[in-house]
């Protein structure tokens, strides 16, 4: 499946958010996820299905002013 992950075209086998995070080695890290501008809470990662062309943002805490 072709996804846009953090703005980059990505080929992934995963069809759900939790599987995608595992595939991209983000699982277990302190992250937040949005699919097509909708935040997907941690509790819904396992049940949220992905479709071709979805835009996924995977975000982490960073320095800020």
């Amino acid at each position: 499946m072709r996804l846009i992950v953090n703005g980059k075209e990505t080929e992934a086998d995963a069809t759900r958010v939790d599987a995608l995070l595992a595939e991209l080695e983000y699982l277990g890290k302190h992250i937040a996820v949005a699919v097509n501008y909708d935040v997907v809470p941690r509790t819904r990662w396992a049940e949220t299905h992905l479709k071709d062309g979805d835009a996924i943002e995977i975000l982490t805490p960073r320095q800020g002013g």
Binding site: L24, A34, E57, R62, G64
Partner: protein, 260 residues
Amino acid sequence: MVEFYGKKFSSRLLVGTARYPSPAIMQKAIRASGAEIVTVSVRREAAGGKIGDAFWSLIRELGVTVLPNTAGCHSVREAITTAKLARELFDTPWVKLEVIADDETLQPDAVGLVDAAGTLAKDGFEVFPYCTEDLSVAQRLVDAGCRVIMPWASPIGSGRGIINPDALKLMRARLPDVTLVVDAGLGAPSHAAEAFELGYDAVLLNTAIAKAADPVKMAEAFRRGAEAGRTAYEAGLMGPRDFASPSTPIVGTPFWHAIS
């Protein structure tokens, strides 16, 4: 004590976590500043979350309250989604709301800011909007549900200090019950002191500390500047006057003769 959405803090200095020479210096500087609240951001990361995790453990070691920002957002939609991601990531209803209108001035987009603030407040967020010194915008933000307003001193990272003290003074007078924070543009501890002398409840700064030759020492200087300004405000400043007024008594001056 200063209060933000029902939470009380003894430090009136809020500091950013960006642009320090190293993570270790950031930690030392934040400790030296005495700040109990620090700003953070949410960002994409290519390294599988490792960089974010490392940064986050540094912040947790400090034991401070985090205020996530929506820096870099140019639209209401981006700002709202970023705020929601921050809520998920940091488990806090607090958000420093930035909706940027122009990349050169980093001036906030007043219309988008009020719009986003209203939507977020209705969704349970406790919004800290970064705005200009425009009183009408501040009033709209209060109407939208903001109990904290954060007008700039001057553009972000400019270090110019308070360029429109009259407008900030007016905002203080007209919004006596709102927690007011001077955010952005402070370059020196004297600028922070001035904000407190004008009656502001707190100041938020980043670059002036992070980009100093010695950030830890500068953080200490800002802590003292903030304390001096706040103490002066509590002591009650004399008003300025147009002409001289002798401080030494006239009566009893040697060789002084009344002319009749």
